[in-house]
């Protein structure tokens, strides 16, 4: 079987203007930062970006860069407050924002990947979230019907991959394993690529059948440096 490891630009060439893109991670943590940096240079635009949260607090890092670089026309997620550029663009009408509670957002993505039409959640009942949604009562409790969501492309971040595309995560994988099911083309950015059989079957977080392209990120050493520098600056 042909190795799924390909060059970064070849993988990113699947992302076209106007597409819907999912990016895994959580306000900076375990985000595919190398792919994002390159995507900024490539300049693809008018993206609809789906992420559970937004930029690392204060921006200037990870997926926040795509917004700061005006490549995103719509953001779908639970929060924009960590990204000053997103708040500003939303305010002035440049950026459309669709909010979902974080638990709802990830269930919508999971439903999209799992072939479900949607889920019924108690979250959001009695709030703005009810707008335009079906409300269903079961055993006297109200639920909102939240529908499935998918993307054209998802970029996820793993720690190691094998050439078959199996992904092993490290630390807090957050949204990455869920997004891996919910896009037509899945790019996995990792720090190591190994041979099939080198990853423990019990430890594989995303099987290779879900992954279309494996790309090398900055590597563990540079990743460590990048985050150490980031974390050395105190949060506001």
């Amino acid at each position: 079987m042909k190795s799924k490891e390909i060059a970064m630009d070849e993988a990113l060439s699947h992302i076209k203007d106007g597409m819907t893109l999912m990016i895994g991670g959580f306000i900076g943590n375990n985000e595919p930062i190398a792919a994002i940096d390159r995507l900024m240079e490539l300049g693809v635009k008018d993206l609809t970006l789906i992420a559970v949260v937004n930029a690392y607090p204060g921006g200037g890092f990870g997926l926040g860069k795509l917004i700061e670089n005006h490549q995103v026309k719509k953001f779908i997620g639970s929060h924009i407050g960590t990204c000053p550029a997103a708040v500003e663009q939303y305010k002035n009408g440049e950026l459309e924002v669709e909010y979902y509670p974080q638990g709802t957002m990830i269930e919508k993505i999971r439903a999209g990947g799992a072939g479900l039409g949607g889920i019924l959640t108690p979250t959001g009942v009695g709030t703005l979230m009810e707008e335009g949604k079906q409300k269903i009562t079961l055993n006297g409790r109200e639920y909102l019907l939240e529908t499935a969501v998918r993307a054209d492309v998802a970029i996820i971040r793993g720690y190691k991959a094998d050439t078959m595309g199996n992904i092993l995560y490290r630390g807090t994988p957050s949204s990455n394993p869920i997004m891996a099911l919910a896009a037509d083309y899945v790019i996995a950015e990792v720090d190591y690529v190994v041979e099939p059989g080198e990853l423990e079957p019990d430890r594989i977080g995303t099987p290779g059948i879900l992954v279309d392209a494996v790309v090398k990120g900055y590597g563990e050493e540079k990743t460590r440096e990048i985050y150490r520098q980031l974390w050395a600056k105190k949060l506001a």
Binding site: G28, V87, Y99, T123, R170
Partner: protein, 220 residues
């Protein structure tokens, strides 16, 4: 002691041994510093981690592991990490014993508004994050906030004016002046801060406050 520290100290007394708790940013996180002796709580963060260090020094961090503020952390013995769908399954599914969250407004029915600040017509910031799920799913919801805004207006209202984060979700409200409990028969004043009188609390509370019997002073 400033208002925030007082609130955090009092909130920390709500922790019971073995409780799984999720703490919002600000005062709630601060409460973790005042967990009573002999009480062990299990911290849960919505990005997908259980039992983790509240402060991890640079040099000891793992670049792939963070808390819900994307700050470095490490798993403690007996802790674990998992994906965020599982994390919210824990939250919504009633597997988190208590959450402590801040608020912009809270009212006597337990309604809470804690994110939707209007920034343009029909537009709100910053987004609810995981708060709405926590409000619905955590077994006990403790709301910590300052009693009044900068202009001295009560944040403890008859009816919230901002868009709600959740309806009838709050169990306990802790401010720098008082502890109040939301019950089916009204908002009960349970404790006052040291040196604060019941009348002083009433004077800055828009909500109808039920006062029954002598009201004890908070023990901090």
């Amino acid at each position: 002691m400033d208002a925030r520290e007082l609130i955090a100290r009092r909130a920390a007394q709500e922790f019971k041994d073995g409780f799984v708790v999720n703490l919002g940013f600000g005062i709630p996180v601060q409460a973790a510093a005042y967990i009573p002796e002999g009480v062990e709580v299990i911290l849960q963060a919505e990005n997908g981690i259980l039992r983790f260090e509240t402060v991890t020094k640079l040099g000891e961090e793992d670049p792939y592991t963070s808390d819900a503020a994307c700050q470095p952390t490490r798993v403690l013995p007996g802790g674990s990490t998992f994906d965020i769908a599982t994390s919210f399954a824990f939250i919504r599914g009633g597997h988190v014993d208590a959450t402590i969250l801040g608020a912009l407004e809270v009212d006597q029915e337990g309604n809470i508004a804690n994110w939707a600040l209007p920034i343009a017509p029909g537009k709100y910031s910053p987004g609810m994050g995981g708060a709405m799920d926590l409000l619905v799913g955590a077994r006990k919801v403790i709301c910590t906030l300052q009693h009044t805004d900068k202009k001295g207006r009560s944040k403890i209202l008859k009816k919230c004016t901002l868009p709600l984060s959740a309806a009838k979700a709050v169990d306990l409200i802790i401010t720098e002046l008082a502890v109040m409990e939301v019950t089916p028969s009204g908002l009960y004043l349970r404790e006052v801060a040291p040196g604060v009188t019941v009348d002083q609390v009433k004077a800055v509370t828009e909500a109808d406050l039920v006062v029954e019997g002598p009201i004890p002073e908070m023990k901090l």
